[in-house]
């Protein structure tokens, strides 16, 4: 009985603190499971949590998160949030695809959403996939990298050869070629999203080969890339969040993926009763979900910034199609000639 009393008073406290927010969607409860990066990973897990915190502030949603320490934690964490009676459960990152699919089958009445993964035609009716047209943001940063390069050579360092990273890679290359048809590339996968030392080594190699702007889409590997670029006083392009603060004089721009905005939008839809389960939403430039970082104008001349806004316009209007796969990239190259 005493336990119940404690729980009741806890619930009472929570509901009291929430009642000061707008009551529009006060009954909604949304939780997220991070991948092994944890909630303070300076990258997409953190961005996702920032998005949820914004829904708490603006919409009065009850939010919570579960950090995963190991891959084997995903099912247990999803179940914990299920037992906590959340209206929507987020899985952050494609690593959670299998666990979400299984949970969705076991609990057909529970709504799930996953970042960076699409189940295609096989999406269960209670699951929403959220994808980003990362290639559109990468295209813009590729354009800038190419224009800013003094040596006519740019580098790309990817985490692993998976579709999510390909979209960054080919978008970036397309943008660079669009700016300068004679641009040269150095490309390599680090086979890791965490090994910063490896990122530094690869970046140093690329600088040695003459690349003076290096773009990374490799999570924490990028910390090493940016470090190398800073030491050699070259240029880097960040990823996911605005990474200018890591090296204010060297990170010329970042290819941003606004996971926070996407999460906010989906939760907002949920509140309005228009949750699009069974489908995959693709967020792009026109939704403000991918973009170059706001700090870009600090390092990039205003002439180029004007180019960027023109390019953005043609991408949003659909005049410019950005490739996300190697085959689409090949067609894109042909169209340039």
């Amino acid at each position: 009985m005493r336990f119940n009393g404690v729980v009741l008073s806890a619930i009472l406290l929570v509901s009291l603190s929430l009642s000061s927010y707008s009551l529009k969607a006060a009954t909604l409860k949304v939780g997220m499971v991070t991948d092994v990066g944890g909630v303070n990973d300076q990258s997409f897990n953190q961005s996702a949590w920032e998005g949820l915190q914004k829904t708490k502030k603006d919409l009065g949603i009850k939010i919570s998160y579960q950090e995963s320490k190991q891959d084997a934690d995903y099912p247990a964490n999803l179940e914990t949030l299920y037992d906590a009676k959340n209206d929507l459960i987020w899985g952050i990152g494609f690593k959670m695809a299998d666990a979400i699919l299984l949970a969705a089958k076991q609990n057909p009445k529970q709504k799930y959403a996953i970042i960076d993964y699409s189940y295609g035609n096989k999406t269960p009716p209670n699951v929403l996939g959220v994808m980003f047209k990362a290639e559109e943001g990468a295209f813009l940063s590729g354009y800038l990298a190419s224009k800013m390069s003094k040596t006519g050579s740019v580098g790309f360092i990817g985490g692993m050869s998976v579709p999510i990273i390909h979209s960054f890679q080919y978008g970036f290359k397309a943008g660079a070629l669009y700016a300068n048809k004679k641009i040269k590339f150095n490309e390599q996968y680090a086979e890791s999203f965490t090994d910063a030392a490896k990122g530094k080594a690869i970046a140093n190699q690329m600088i040695g080969k003459g690349s003076d702007v290096i773009f990374h889409a490799a999570g924490a590997v990028g910390d090493g890339v940016i470090e190398a670029v800073k030491e050699k006083n070259k240029m880097a392009v960040g990823v996911d969040r605005d990474q200018n603060y890591l090296a204010p004089n060297n990170v010329i721009t970042s290819s941003m993926k606004r996971i926070d905005n996407a999460i906010y939008n989906v939760v907002n839809d949920l509140g309005k009763g228009t949750f699009k389960g069974g489908t995959t939403i693709e967020y792009g430039l026109k939704d403000g979900a991918v973009d170059v970082a706001p700090t870009t104008s600090k390092m990039v001349p205003s002439v180029l910034m004007e180019d960027i806004s023109k390019l953005k316009k043609s991408i949003v209007e659909g005049k410019l199609k950005i490739p996300a796969t190697s085959s689409a990239f090949a067609t894109f190259v042909k169209s340039l000639k």
Partner: protein, 365 residues
């Protein structure tokens, strides 16, 4: 008995200090412990998860404890766990026999691989005097990168992921895996809510094998001359050698058995829960937690069994603090750290006890 009391007191102090940390981060410790207790025992599926989580901890704890009895500090359980898990995935994927053959073959060969890996450290110590703490720490990293290398081999890697292919169904030890998602199974479970909840997690046969191992290790240590020789080596190498025990051989053998136990933990984890291995960014900690389990269980097989369940419960229910109270789950790590701290210096309890008895004496006089 004294060890048991020290463990209990340490656990109590750990919970107390953990509560203090919670209090400092602005959370009512009573609320937190309520969440943990309810999150651990209020539903059958929670208990099922605790058993699943405790299984590898019991085995790696047993592994550390066994080596410790021979005077060796096996910090390589993490690496041996990885080798066992990798081997089990590899064989489980490439072999596809009848389950009655497949499961023992995969399990035994995984143990064999990790026992060689553990034995390597034992041999280095026996032959060249390389301290096992140093060699096993390095072997941990070797295992991690070896595993990551194998995961990326084309044909073994699942396309477009950073994980390997899944093991064949025939190597799975998850209980009633197909039945519980079949139509007849779902219909039956609909009417039996306890089992429906209990079987929702990947409950597997691993715990039974772990229990057998606890008995086996107890038997070896307490009831065989082999175990006696191992323990003698642990007490005093020089005396044992004088008594005609081949201590070098015994150390290598102890590390091999210890490695096999950790490898078994990895193999059972793959066969029962994860079904594959992923690229590792860092050590997952199943092996390192084994050191904590062994220490709390004062290196006795039954103690290890109990402390394995205790740590498994803490680790599982502690995670629930996050979503329920927005409390940092690191509190659990602090708690475990404090518990081990006190267990490592048992004399800290002697001191107040002495004072107490002196006061009693004086009051009598």
């Amino acid at each position: 008995m004294k060890n048991f009391l020290v463990s209990l007191l340490s656990i109590f102090l750990g919970l107390l200090l953990g509560g203090l940390v919670l209090k400092l981060s602005g959370i009512n410790p009573l609320d937190a412990y309520t969440v943990m207790i309810e999150g651990a025992f209020s539903q059958p599926n929670y208990i099922s998860y605790i058993i699943i989580r405790s299984t590898p901890l019991i085995l790696t704890g047993l592994s550390v404890a066994f080596a410790f009895k021979t005077g060796l500090f096996n910090i390589g359980t993490e690496g041996q766990f990885i080798v066992g898990a990798l081997t089990a995935t590899f064989l489980g994927f490439y072999f596809n026999f009848n389950p009655w053959l497949q499961i023992p073959v995969v399990m035994i060969l995984s143990c064999f691989a990790s026992s060689l890996y553990g034995g390597l450290a034992g041999y280095l110590k026996a032959r060249f005097g390389v301290h096992e703490v140093l060699s096993t720490i390095m072997l941990n990293w070797l295992a991690l990168y070896l595993s990551n290398f194998f995961v990326f081999i084309e044909g073994f890697r699942r396309p477009d992921t950073e994980t390997t292919e899944f093991i064949n169904q025939s190597a799975s030890i998850t209980l009633l895996e197909n039945w519980k998602v079949s139509e007849s199974g779902m219909a039956w479970l609909e009417n039996h809510t306890f089992w429906k909840s209990f079987l929702r997690p990947p409950f597997n046969a691993g715990i039974f094998i772990a229990l057998i191992m606890v008995f086996l290790i107890w038997f070896i240590l307490e009831k065989t001359t082999f175990g006696f020789k191992l323990k003698a080596t642990g007490f005093s190498q020089l005396a044992s050698r004088y008594a005609g025990i081949n201590t070098n051989l015994k150390m290598t053998q102890a590390m091999m058995i210890s490695g096999a136990l950790s490898g078994l933990a990895g193999a059972l984890h793959v066969m029962g829960v994860s079904k594959n291995v992923a690229v590792l960014a860092a050590h997952e900690g199943y092996g390192f937690d084994g050191i904590a389990v062994a220490l709390i269980g004062s290196n006795h097989p039954v103690g290890v069994l109990l402390s394995g369940f205790f740590l498994g419960t803490l680790k599982y229910s502690g995670q629930k603090l996050q979503s329920a109270l927005e409390a940092p789950s690191e509190v659990i790590s602090i708690m475990i750290g404090v518990i081990i701290f006190f267990i490592a210096i048992p004399s800290i309890f002697n001191w107040p006890l002495k004072i107490l008895s002196r006061i009693k004496k004086e009051s009598k006089q």
